[in-house]
């Protein structure tokens, strides 16, 4: 049963339509996946960012509080009343901002970032 030419054309047309449908289907799937990945990123990004926030907050506060305590104890020890307290408190503020700066400069590794060479 020899295939007539129009059957072949009709077959080819249907094939073309099928592949284009498949293509659009794949693109839609891809877009949907991207949107989901983006949502995931902010979701995980949220946890990552909050943990960064907790670290920055406590390192900043702890540096200043520890330095002030040390200064206060030194004052009591040496009897030089306000000197060490102010000196150490200024140093504590510098230490706090220094550690926050180091944390902020090295942002948390988002997915896909290459691990910086240690």
């Amino acid at each position: 049963m020899q295939e007539s030419p129009d059957d072949a054309d009709e077959l080819k047309a249907r094939l073309a339509r099928l592949t284009s449908d498949l293509q659009t289907q794949r693109e839609a799937g891809q877009r949907q996946a991207d949107r989901k990945a983006e949502a995931d990123l902010t979701d995980k990004g949220m946890g990552q960012a909050m943990s960064l926030g907790f670290r920055v907050l406590s390192e900043f506060v702890a540096a200043i509080v520890v330095a002030t305590l040390i200064g206060w104890r030194l004052d009591l020890w040496f009897g030089t009343d306000p000197l060490f307290l102010i000196l150490l408190m200024g140093l504590g503020v510098a230490a706090g901002f220094w550690s926050v700066y180091r944390l902020a400069v090295k942002p948390p590794q988002r997915r896909g970032d290459k691990q910086p060479p240690r």
């Binding site: 949220m46 960012a49 907050l57 900043f60 506060v61 926050v100 902020a104």
Partner: protein, 75 residues
């Protein structure tokens, strides 16, 4: 003005500092959100930095809290 009353008034005034810190955190996230709406793709990278700014503002709020606690409980 007897000192005990002054102490409590001082603690009350120090507590206002925490309110100011809350305003700071509010502006940081407000500006971050308006920026993120304008350019959502870049917002993910800056999400961490928004929290760093908020943490610093909170840190200063915690100092106001520390001053208030010191005034209240340290003899």
């Amino acid at each position: 003005m007897d000192p005990v009353a002054a102490k409590y008034i001082g603690a009350g005034l120090a507590a206002i500092g925490m309110g100011a810190a809350a305003i700071g955190v509010g502006t940081i996230f407000g500006n971050f959100l308006s920026g993120a709406l304008r350019n959502p793709s870049a917002s993910d990278g800056q999400f961490g930095r928004a929290f760093i700014g908020a943490a610093l503002a909170e840190g200063l709020g915690i100092f106001a809290f520390l001053v208030a606690i010191l005034l209240l409980f340290v003899k």
